[in-house]
Amino acid sequence: MEAVEAFKQERMEQAARVIRKSQLALQRQRYSIPSKFGLYVVALLFLGVSLFPIYLILTASLKNDVQIFARPPVFIFTPTFKSYHDVLLVRSLSQVRFIANSLIATVLATAIAVAFGSMAAYGLARFEFKGRKDLAFWILSTRMAPPIAFIVPMFVLIKSIGLLDTWWALVIMYTGMNLSFSVWILRGFFMDIPPELEESALVDGYTRWQVFTRIALPLVKPGLAAVAVFTSIFSWNEFLFALILTQQNAKTIPIGITGFSSSMGIHWGPFMAVGFIAILPILVFTFLMQKYLVRGLTFGAVK
């Protein structure tokens, strides 16, 4: 009898689920065919406009000088890796040092922003203490001033510490500028976790730190992904501070690229090659993180 009841219950729940789905599907169908077509056209247009520059850079990096300037433009050609060869292996043009600096600064800044940002965010989300709201706001406020306003004081400060032209300086700056964002985003995510989930673990004998690492962090993966993507994009592309705080040793890719534009003209081939190398890691990284970002908050409260 119980089995029959359970079966019937399951059937009913299944039926209910299918009904809901069909209802939603029907609602979607209510858009007329012409407007759907219009949507697609607009979307494709937008896509085209966004992707075209990347296409241009990629193809230019694989062309030789003649092909680059050809008119009408050449679409079918045999690709050559000479530009990449020049840019990476030829000493005088080598960008390898710049790439390395960019990587170090970006990876470290992202790691610190995520690690420390999440801990600070958790503390602000979970613990009651005096001045909590003020502290949170102060952290946010650090991002309110336009960077260019404090570029000179920072230069003086970094120079006096003796960190000028080192990637440490960049790591400090990039972390500082992204930590506030990291804390604020992650604080929101942590506050969305029902406290009972953690309370349950506390009662079961887990320490706060274990609760943080085993329960809270896994549940805010979308937030961590968002912070990681944002921080790495920012750090990788950052120009102003890299320009002011580095001279020779610690130059990053954005600075390195400017080297191709000199009073003698623009050396297009290698320029495009470095350009593409500059874009590639971010494209790949964001693409990999996308599934965490898109998954959104379905991992939220299980009520």
Partner: protein, 366 residues
Amino acid sequence: MADVRLEKVWKTYGGVVEAVRELDLECHNKEFLCLLGPSGCGKSSTLRMIAGLENVTKGDVYIGSRKVTSVPPKDRDIAMVFENYALYPHLTVYDNIAMPLRVRNMSRRQVDEKVRHAAEVLHITSLLGRRVVRLGGGQKQRVGIGRAIVRSPSVFLMDEPISHLEAQLRAQMRVELKRLHIEVEATTIYVTHDQLEAMALADRIAVMNLGELQQVGTPSELFDRPVNQFVAGFIGTPAMNFLECELVAEGDELFAQGSGFRIRLPEATRARLLRSNSAGTMQLGIRPLDLAVAKSVGSQTPVAARTFVYEPQGESCQVTVQIDRQLLSIEADGDFVTEAGEAAWIGFKSDKVHLFDSKTGANLVL
């Protein structure tokens, strides 16, 4: 006011899911009809088809003598009350109730009259100036009902309007809704999954399951004469007990026999069973109210059992006993006290015993 009729109505979603199957149903003029069933049974779909919010796949809907199957909702002269109120949060109560009237180009004075009348009936006159955001659940629901009343429609349709309110408020609103129905005398069709609500409010209840109408009748009819096992098990709290049994004839007498018990069936039951030619194993159904329990064997309590759980409830108590490996729920007087593990003796009120066909679930005793 008008009656509502559904004739052979079908509703299919996506050509595959049959939410409502060949439904023939009538709600008489001024009647309070409840559509009752578990989630997914088709009751909401049915209501929405009556309202015109869903298309009817097959069949017809009549309101009064008009066929309204393809008439849009706004022309059907119905008013609907939703579970989530559907009120305009930042308007006042007055404006919310007046809204449907203002669309109809009534004079200011007329609108005012109607709004105040509705507010009076619902005891919310003091709230007229307040913003809806500041109201509690029960108050909001009354505003929702006010907005429906004010249009004096032919039919009121209510979709689980109080199911999410907390218990005490729900009980209060139940009384008010029923009272409202008596005063306003409106044809009302009310959807709910709570059988207690349906039993308390309805003149008649239509029980549905998996898209099919199981039974339509007054609360008493459904309670005492359920046509199948589903209705029997769904109506009544605590739920009816079901035990497996077999019919055993001994001379003139007929017994329902199962593991641990043997009940003599009354004459009337016997006659009906003979007519329906039933045999084989069947399900015996008996309500907790119709079982007697005592601490010693007696003429009223011949069956041996063991107390599994004793739950005092004030003026009554619930005793769950175990016979062989089956559990039975019994509702007894508040003075009866026992303990888990104690021996208990129970008796079946034989004229309240139902027998259901194991395969079809049909009630063989009716």
